[in-house]
Structure formats: C-alpha cells, structure tokens
Amino acid sequence: MNAPGMNAQSDYYYEASARERAQGLLDPGSFTEFMGPQSRCLSPHLAQFNLTGAFDDGIIIGAGLLQGMPVYVAAQEGRFMGGAFGELHGAKLVGLLRAAAAHKITAVLLALDTGGVRLQEANAGEMAISEVLRAIVAARRAGVAVIALVGGRAGAFGGGGIIAASCSRIIVSGHGRISVSGPEVIETNKGVEEFDSKDRGLVWRVTGGRSRALLGGADAYVADRISAFRDAALAQIPNAPPFTLESLQAEQARLSQRLAAYGTCRDATEIWRQAGLEPPAPVADLSEADYAGLSRLPEADHDAR
C-alpha cells in the first residue's frame, strides 16, 4: 500500500485533495493506488503545448474496502487544470471501470471534480469522455453500482455532467454543482437573457447541489464532509437500480414528465411553485439542519436512472 501525502487530514471534502478524498472515503489504510505518481503518467499533449503536467494526470484511481466490502475508487483533482479530462486521465478511469466489470466489483465510487474536456486535448478528451460513458454502461450492465460524488470546486460540468447523469446514483454536497454547459458558456452562446452568469444566486439555484437534490437531479444530499459522502455511498449502493431496459424506460419517462411539468420554468423557484409547494427561503441561506427539513419534490425519489 502506498499512502503519499500528509497524515493530518481534516474531514472537509471541498478542501481535500483527490488523494485525501480517495483515502478518506475508504476504510482507514485500505486504499491501494493504481498507477500512482511514481509511474509518472504525464499527459503527452500538455507537453506539446509547453505546459507542465501532473504525475497522475489529475486523477487518482485504486481499490480498497468500504466497511469491509471491496470497492474501486476514482477521484479527480479539481485544482489541476480544473479536473478536466485528457486522454490519459480518461484512460485511467476507463481501465478502472472495465476492471470493475471484469472482476464483478460491487461498486465504484467516482469522485467527479471536473469542468469537462481539457481544451488542449480537444478530440482526445472528447473521446475519453465517450469511452468513460461506454465503460460506465458496461460496468452497470455487469452489476457494478457506479456512484457519482460531487462536492469539489470544479463541480461536474461538460462531459463530467453527462458522466454524472449516467451513474447509478448521484451524491452531492452544497458546494457541488452539476450541469453540462457552464453558466458563462450559456451566456456567451445564447445571450444574457437566457442565463445571466454574473447572477450567482441564479447559478447556484439552477446548478447547485441543494437544488439538484431537492428536484431529483441528485439522489442524496450530504454535508461537506468526506465521512458524510462515505456514509451516503454505503446507503446508496444497495439502492442502485439495475441497468435494464426497464430502468432506462423508467428514466426516460421520469425525464419526460419533468420536462412536461417544468420545461418552461426559468429558475428553480418557479419549479417549486409549479409543484404546488411553498417556495423555500433562499436555499443557499439555510443551515444544514433547516435544509434537511425541506421536502423534496414528490418525484425526486425514484427507481430510475
């Protein structure tokens, strides 16, 4: 086992490095890293652009125990190039998912922290995302529960948002954001009337973890603690829906219903009103305890995904 890094760890998920998250999610001392920094998996693309790389290309992968159960874990380092997917970065995750399917591992914890494709690796990064999606489908088909954890500074954007949506279950904290196009991207392409990226309240009401969990875009909400993500993962793994034609059809029906009911809403508060529920006080201002008392939309709990 190797456990590089400082020993004095705090439990805050947002502040932790990818390696601290991977280690902290698992039983103490049980994490074994695959292709660690000493293997020097640096991106060949970044070097071509005269950019310095990272020895693990910004993703930590490995195996360990979750309450004694063998699981695999992958954690993106959101501070290195925004956690973006490059060719090697993606290949490490694809390999882990394929190994999980081949070895019938019960679960893969996927700690996403990414803005999407690494621009310098454009097509290779896009292909990496596609291969990850394919590998998640194959792993789920083989019975592996793939659990997305979103609570880092980069959130899960671009292809990372699509990857989150393809997982068996999504766990999010208040710091986590999930979407595909980022706020600035939407504003640049569709104009400020479509989405005002400088309106931080709007950005968080639409993409933020608290809203996502209330509206069913995430399956569980946790406080910003590694231990809370761990407990939620343990609770969600047995609930992971099987990946069958029926579950896909159920998900399609669920999303169609959501689109029909809320497709014209321009803000999370409108969705709330449309659902006939009292609009909550600004969700971001609530304490964790008060937030926990809010009821989710009736359809937020589901067997689909």
Binding site: P4, S17, G36, P37, Q38, L51, T52, F55, E77, F80
Partner: protein
C-alpha cells in the same frame, strides 16, 4: 515552461525509511512534489518542470537552503510547478523531506 535538473551532494543521508511521498497540486501558485528514496546516500537530485521561465537562480537558492536545514541524501525530488513563490516552494520541499523521515 522550463525544465532543468539540479544535482547536489548533501553532507548527510536522509533519515527515516519511507520510500515515497507525494504532496501538493500543480495549480496556479502551487506545485506538485514527488519524493522518492532511490539514489545513493551521497546524492540528491531535483528534477523541475516550471511554468515560470528564468528563475533557476532562485530554485538553486531555495534548494541549497533546504539542504542546509535537512538531511536529504538519497532523495530524488520531482516537481511540477505552477508558478509557486519561493516561500511556497521552500514549504513544500520541507514537507516532502519531513514525510520521508517517517518509518517505512
């Protein structure tokens, strides 16, 4: 980007038994450091890839400061730097050397 290697002959071999330490992140104003116990005890090597070009003199000064303070013989330091200031570089190097002092 600039890449270079600094080799020194430290007076004392590193204590402890740890084989490997990794810390920090290659981000703006920060750096990633990998330390391996892989060299003869009378040698230390620093392989540096830095986003800031033209500061080799400063790197040499910070590294000689580290070697005056801590025994680093036998250690191989590999760095991916995102433009960390000298004080941050010094701190990371000290952290890395301190981790290697732990038992295996």
């Amino acid at each position: 980007m600039e890449q270079f290697q600094i080799r020194i002959e430290p007076a004392r071999p590193a204590s402890g038994g740890r084989r490997l330490a990794s810390l920090g992140v290659n981000a703006s104003g920060n750096l990633e450091l990998l330390v391996e116990r892989s060299l003869p005890p009378g040698e230390a090597v620093f392989d540096i890839a830095t986003a800031a070009t033209g500061f080799r003199d400063l790197w040499e000064a910070v590294i000689s400061d580290l070697c005056a303070r801590l025994p680093v013989g036998g250690l191989h330091f590999s760095i991916n730097d995102g433009g960390a200031r000298p004080d941050v570089v010094g701190l990371r190097l000290m952290q890395g050397a301190a981790l290697m002092e732990q038992p295996a």
